[in-house]
Point group: C2
Chain length 161, copies 2
């Protein structure tokens, strides 16, 4: 199966990964969240070939994750800004960071800590339930087929049997 | 810069993506969280070439994200199970799913909903602060250089200037 086909699957992970599931793209997003916003920033920070970088930024722009804004005329130069849709990726990046901090930081500890300006403390992010506010554990949750996809999970389970 | 080099950077995102930042790997993890556990499951579900699948599973095993367990003898057959380290990726997968649900589900709504068995409701996951329990917004947080990495972010900002 090609990635193109996988993106057509009724699966929000597959569709999401068709947009941001490239490592370079996720590194560009990391840089955007750390404040970088120009082509040259990303290039220097990541050492990524110009054509690859252009391509990834174009995809992010086309999908409405970043917006390109002119910041200089003659010659026109652009900077990139996360849209609301892009900012909504914050939980993905933060949870990726935390997993890396836990398992790959080594003795020196996390390279970057995250400060909650509102309460004045460095924090780790806790996943909680929108309904009961309790912390979410995968052992207490269960995936179910969506309303318009009756039997989707059962069907998949059958394929696998 | 090669991925191998990027993984050496003091960045938990880079290190994490060196392990799970491949789209197929993330799809395998999705399947594991949905209950799949055999080589053939993944192959049928993803339509991924056997060699690619073997390679991805070997990496996950080597990094301690999954464990390979025999479930049959003569011939010996194996199933894969998420380790504690693997289960710790749940927040990454859930936040990926939610972003996809929000922006790519279309009119039919989310293909899969997530049920919190503990409280009895379908939920969405909310990112909260470990210190004040408030919901986390990227506009109220700030990255800072870790204790053993003085000036890391300032240094990066200089490179980018």
């Amino acid at each position: 199966m090609k990635w193109q086909d996988l993106a057509q699957q009724p699966c929000s992970v597959a569709r999401t990964l068709a947009v941001i599931g490239d490592r370079w793209t996720l590194m560009i997003l990391r840089d955007l969240f750390l404040g970088a916003n120009r082509f040259e920033h990303f290039q220097q920070s990541l050492g990524i070939p110009r054509t690859t970088l252009s391509e990834r930024l174009r995809l992010l722009e086309r999908e409405g994750v970043v917006r390109k804004l002119p910041y200089q005329e003659k010659p026109t130069r652009y900077k990139y800004r996360l849209t609301a849709k892009g900012v909504d990726l914050y939980p993905v990046l933060i949870t990726l960071v935390q997993w890396g901090d836990k398992y790959y930081a080594g003795e020196a500890g996390p390279p970057v800590v995250h400060h909650h300006k509102r309460c004045g403390h460095d924090f780790s992010a806790v996943l909680t339930c929108s309904e009961c506010n309790g912390a979410i554990s995968p052992f207490e949750t269960e995936p179910r087929s969506g309303a318009d996809y009756p039997g989707l999970l059962e069907q998949r389970a059958n394929i696998k049997a």
